[in-house]
Structures are given as C-alpha cells and as structure tokens.
Symmetry: C2
Subunit: 224 residues, 2 copies
Amino acid sequence: MAKDMTLMWGSGSPPCWRVMIALEEKNLQGYNSKLLSFDKGEHKSKEVMDVNPRGQLPAFKHGNIIVNESYAACLYLENQFKSQGTKLIPDSPAEMALTYQRMFEGLTLFQKTAQSLFYERFVPENERHDSARKRNGEDLKNEIKLWEGYMQNSSGDFLAGKTFSMADVIVFPVIAFLFRFGLNEEHFPKLAAYHELLKNRPSIKASWPPSWKDTPGMLVLKDF
Amino acid sequence: MAKDMTLMWGSGSPPCWRVMIALEEKNLQGYNSKLLSFDKGEHKSKEVMDVNPRGQLPAFKHGNIIVNESYAACLYLENQFKSQGTKLIPDSPAEMALTYQRMFEGLTLFQKTAQSLFYERFVPENERHDSARKRNGEDLKNEIKLWEGYMQNSSGDFLAGKTFSMADVIVFPVIAFLFRFGLNEEHFPKLAAYHELLKNRPSIKASWPPSWKDTPGMLVLKDF
C-alpha cells in the first residue's frame, strides 16, 4: 500500500517515532522502513544525506517527494490521505485550535527535555555550569507540571480532548520519552494514565522503539 | 469583518509578525489589535497571562477560542478561512510537501538566530563563553547559507516555489529580522532579492514592525 514510501529512522527518537505513528494511523503500513543507528553515526551516512542534507533522522520520501521535518511529514500525510485511517485534525474550530495549540507547545516540551537530558551532549565540557544544569532541570520540571495540568483539565483522555489527534501523534513520543527517563508516575498521575492508555493503542504498539523493549529504563527524572 | 478576533503582539517579533501576515492574507483586517511593549514587560501583564499563561506574545483569541503558538494560529486561520483570501497551503503534493518542509526548517533558522543574536539575553553572565558566542555565530551563518542555497535553487521567487505560501508567512519575518540586524545583501543576494520583493507585498507592508520604521537597523551581522 505504501511501497512508494521510505522512512529512515532511529529507535527512541521522538521526531522519528511521531512520523511512524502518523503512518500507522493513516493505514500506510508496508512502507520501506530503514532502522539506522545514531550511535554508529548512520544519520550522517550518504544514504541519509542524499535525502536529508541536514544529516538528521527522520528522513522521509514519498515517491520523489521529500519531507524530512517530522511536523512537516505528519501534516503532509494527514493532508494527502485525509479520508484514510484516523482523522488527525478535527473540523470543529475549538478542537482544531486546541490540537494545533498543543502540537506547537510540544516544541517547547521537547526543547526543554533535550536541553536538560542531553546537556552533556550539547554543551562542550569547558562551557558547562552546575547553575545551567539546575536551571534546565527546573525549567523542564515546570514544563511537565504544565502538561500534567492540561491533562487534569482536559475534557477527555487525549491531549486535545475526547479524540486522538495530531497533538497525540506529535507529543506522545516526548511524554513516553520522559517516562523512559524515569518520570515518577506518582508525581504526574494524569500524564501516567495518559501514557498507559496510549501504550496500548495499535499505532503506538506497532511503532514502539525496539531499543526500549529489552533494556531497562533510566531513573534520571525519578525525583521530579 | 474580524471584530471577534484579538491579537496582542510586540513590534519586530517574528512570531507575532507571522500571525499578522496570515490575518492580512486571509482578508481578516479589522481585528482588535493590541500593540504591547516587551521592554515594559507588558507580555507578562494580567491581560496577556489571561489569554496566554506562558506570558508570551503573540496572544490570540477568536471569539472564545484561544490559539497562542504562532504556527498554530497561522494553520488555524488557513483552515478556518480556506476559501477566503490567499490559499496558503498548496494542493499539489510536491508543493504542499515543500511548503511544510520549509515552514518547519524555519524553526531551526529562528532558533539559531535567537541563540546567536540574543546570547546575552538568554545566558547568565557567569555562564558566558567566547567559544559559545563564536560557535553560535558560525551555526547561524551556515544556516543562512543553506537558505541562500534554497533560494538559488528555487523554481520561483518564493520559499516554496512559484507562489506565496505559508512558508513565506512563517519564515519571511525571520529573514527580515536578519536584514534588520545587518545581514549583508552582497553576501546573500538571493535572500536580499526575496526580502526586497516581499517588502512590497500588501500584507507585509501593512504589518511592517512600527518600531523599525523610524529607527536605523543594526550592523551586527554585516560581516556574515
């Protein structure tokens, strides 16, 4: 069905994962799926660079059409396959607005997650400061609290209300990532319930990061 | 026509400006426009916080519906007023893909712009390093070169080809911002031509940052 599509991806990367969830939700199984290793630097290989000159994953092709940015690929798939699979952008103005709003607030959640959890990766050794580490941790904690509040006040079980939407496609992988890094379920009960609910959704089960399946999670965020 | 819409914004902010351009392109003039001052901290005022609890501008309301994230507001307006004004997301798969791709690469351009130009604003004094300043500058320069290349290879005068699209709504304000900070037109002739062309577009003229009109630009980027 989707034999004219190729996705190159890395396991556990929220940007890659969201494109995989979108493909599942739009019933686009059967695409050419290439799992690559960040650790081996395969995201900088010629194969990737030919599709995505930024040397980043995901790298996605549909026939001759290239859409690498994960938000772009998800919106492209929704719009090209509007009447196929799950409708991911609701029609009602209020639900549409909330879907878009949460999708793009997801950028901030992901940015604060990366900034705190990958401080050592992004900041050269001679530029590191405990004060920055502490501030990044507090920023992330406050951001997660905001999302716990969103789920508390939600009119349904999903990020934009009663139905699964593009907001979940985009943001769920980041929330799963936080739990993978040890986010405490007792401190964030609404996010934990959301995580449990979506874990069992077919699109998410089918695309669950293979590298997470037989390795233990981490405890970095347990005191949050 | 758009009397049930309120936009709170700050002059010169690319995220605010893009929502203003979208409103113009969708023929939604006549909205309730509130210019606030970042310098006076008005983005943290109760009036803003009631609409946008993050205390950021833009803050946008349509009736009772709130959409504050600038990308979200632009996509919401395009979808709610599809057949009104300029069509901002093309139907053809290839053009749609390129429009989305450039829109979201625009996040990286803006992030690198902010990181380099506002280093002093974002990084506390005791955490600043010349090595970081230098790296941020080089990252931004390389990113701008990439966009110059996109314009060189474009099939038309706009970011996603022959027609003005959401990619221009989203990214033009960042490019204008770079020229405001002194980007050298001779080093980036294609971006300069793009900047000149769009400056005269009615939606952009109507929304040009008032604070830029009678103050000189800066020279920060002149050697780029």
